[in-house]
Amino acid sequence: MTGAPSRPGSAAEVAEAVRGAELVLPRGGGTKPALWSAEGAEVLDVSALSGITEYLPSEYTVTALAGTPLAEVEARLAAEGQYLPFDPLLVAAGSTVGGAVAAGANGPGRLRYGGLRDFLLAVTFIDGRGEIVRGGAKVVKNAAGFDLPKLMVGSLGRLGVLTECTFKVFPHPESCATLRVPGMAVDEAIEAAGRVGAGAVEIECLDLVHGLAGWDLEIRIGGRSFALDARLKRAADLLDTDVTTLSGDADASLWRTRREFGWASPDASVLKLPLTPATAGALEQVLADLDASHVGRVYSAGVQQAFVAWPAERVADLPALDLALTEAKLTALALRAPADAAPRPILGYRTGGELLRRVEQALDPAGRFGRLSSPSAALPSRP
């Protein structure tokens, strides 16, 4: 990192900063250091670009500047009974709109209706040439032009500096409650998760949490208050074992802490891995092989993603993990990790490098944001 971060106050100022930089990465709330720091890269602090610019509850759309804290957006939506269905992470920690989109990571609630990619309607960003580019439209349906909003999801600040985002929002379920089955074996828990998931009961969240006494299966159901008890009973019948029910504050705080990674030690590196119920076994094997079966982890959103808390004292083993994941065809993002923890923001198996290389060439010909497509780059390096 060189010098103090610059803190532009407008899209035009961001564009100017990008044009004047050699290697630069944007930072929103700063909750994901491994994603905004790279050797030799300046940091562009976009937190001054803050505020909700348009919220139209009747359109199911909200637009905010990229540095706006997600907590602010969520509070505003909640007042109208709406929410961000992709269930953003690290909200209390200070995560911002742009940082969330660029990281491309979703919370357990993404299970119900989809992730960021499904709820991002429009973006404005500054590309690597310092041009202000808009993509998408501020309406819930649109098929005109290339889908640049989706391209920016998970772009890790390497394709452009986001300055404004428009999301689709949905009405929040009237009430929610959670069923918990403690202490299962991993296979048993995955099987039970599949059984409930395949049934008629519509589920908001379904997580498997690793603990000392095995895996806890947690299933959140939401909807009209009037029907909730009957639906909980139905799901419990499908589980066919003893369950505890959490409702009200207990339910709400469970899921709030989950997405803040309250279950992980604060100095651990939290990795996100895309998964399916069929590949969870491969991840378990990778961890066992590295003598890491004890590390904290959650199989989240119906076992569609894992969050793994890699302990600080085993940072030296991250390259070995990188290799093992590659062999197992698994990919990980160093989501909440110290700047120097991860050898590079993406570990393990990669696809699409050639297409990404061409896109980078188009949007950032000079490589001002580094090159994510370069597979061997220890850190985003200059081309």
């Binding site: 359109e59 499904d118 580019v133 349906k141 890790l156 993406i346 297409l355 188009a362």
Partner: protein
Amino acid sequence: MATADAADFLDALTRCLGVDRVLTGAAPMAAYESDALTAFRARPRAVVLVDSAEEVVDVVRLCAAADVPFLARGSGTSLSGGSLPVHDGVVIAMNRLNRILEVDPVRRTAVVEPGVVNLAVSDAAVPYGLYYSPDPSSQSVCTIGGNLAFNSGGAHCLKYGMTSNHVLGLEVVLPDGEVIEIGGDSLEGVGPDLVGLFVGSEGLFGIATKITLRLLPKPETYFTLLAAYDSLAAAGEAVAAVVASGLLPGAMEIMDNLAIEAAEAAVGAGYPLDAEGLLIVELEGEKQQVAAESELLLDVVRKSNPYLEHIASDPDDRMRIWKGRKSAFSAVGRLSPDYIVQDGVVPRSRLGEALTKIQDLGEEHGIRVANVFHAGDGNLHPLILFDGRVEGELERAEELAGEILRLCIDLGGSITGEHGVGMEKRQYLGEMFGEADLDAMRRIRLAIDPGELANRGKMFPDAEAPALLSHAPHPLEAAGVISRE
């Protein structure tokens, strides 16, 4: 290309596929000269019928080496000229690549070849209680490859999204013949969402040869409500009230009087003929939940003062209601020798304003416009009726279509919700986006396909257009197999 080179190129194609699968000459290629936007026609150099992904790669590499433009063609039902051949290029017909490679009930995914017909995916998923959600009205004929090129939608996209929201992974042949894999079989990914970028790229980034789709559990039950109003505006207000109530229906559709009359005459759906606006709202999902929601829905809709309401009494009754809705456009189309369908989007709260203006514009031009639309997501489908044999009517209809697109842009919406830009709306893309936005898109296109070989001439405003012929129903539509929505 010199004649000798051209002959060599055809020879190479023939060596690769055999003489039976390389069509040349006017008669064999006639069916491929246009798509469902029959106003445009262009003659390709050859049509090739591929049987495997490897053959797609071979053909694309031959095209790249000889600098010949090409495009993939599914069923040719594009309404925007997306599958119109590139003049003197190669049409790669994908229909024979139509195997469903795998349906996995645990992952809830299907892996399919691009020529698979949309409805076939749901059919294959039935034994597992699953289905493929996006439901364009052309779903009995259109292909998954075409759907993903256009990010196609349907009546049931409000809750679970369009094609893009259901594609997880792709195998793609880039325009220079390089084969890549993007995405995977998880709902989650890491790194820029390249699958998201590819879906909706209208064939400009190459050809998808293998597609991993997400399947959803089939809704346990439906609650379908029909409400008739004495004005279109009142129907629109009812939609706003449903949205404000916090309900999230699976579908919310509105038809105007002309559409109601035509649909009624065509299929006898039992619609009230005197309604000025007819609203169809459908809740879907778990029994107890739908039961609880339906009470609220009825309450909300009754407060909007429909003069008549009807609840689907059983699955047959529900099908009848939907049949009327889905046939409405072809039914209206029969009232007129020719018609154009637009599919612009406006913010939901401005639907009333948009509809009034469309009626006014129609009157100004002396042209009848019928309206059937996805009210839940503000996606209009104005049907512009004209007679191409009457001097100047086509031009007036085109002009009106353009004014409607501009209206959508002015109201803060989009020129297309699901039919794509294709050939038809190219000149309006530059009105919706600024120069820098278009330039970024163009740069991406050129970085991926420097020779602009893949579907050359589509989407971007500056590309050259072939001659305008006339508007007529798609052959399948005329035969009553599919209907426009």
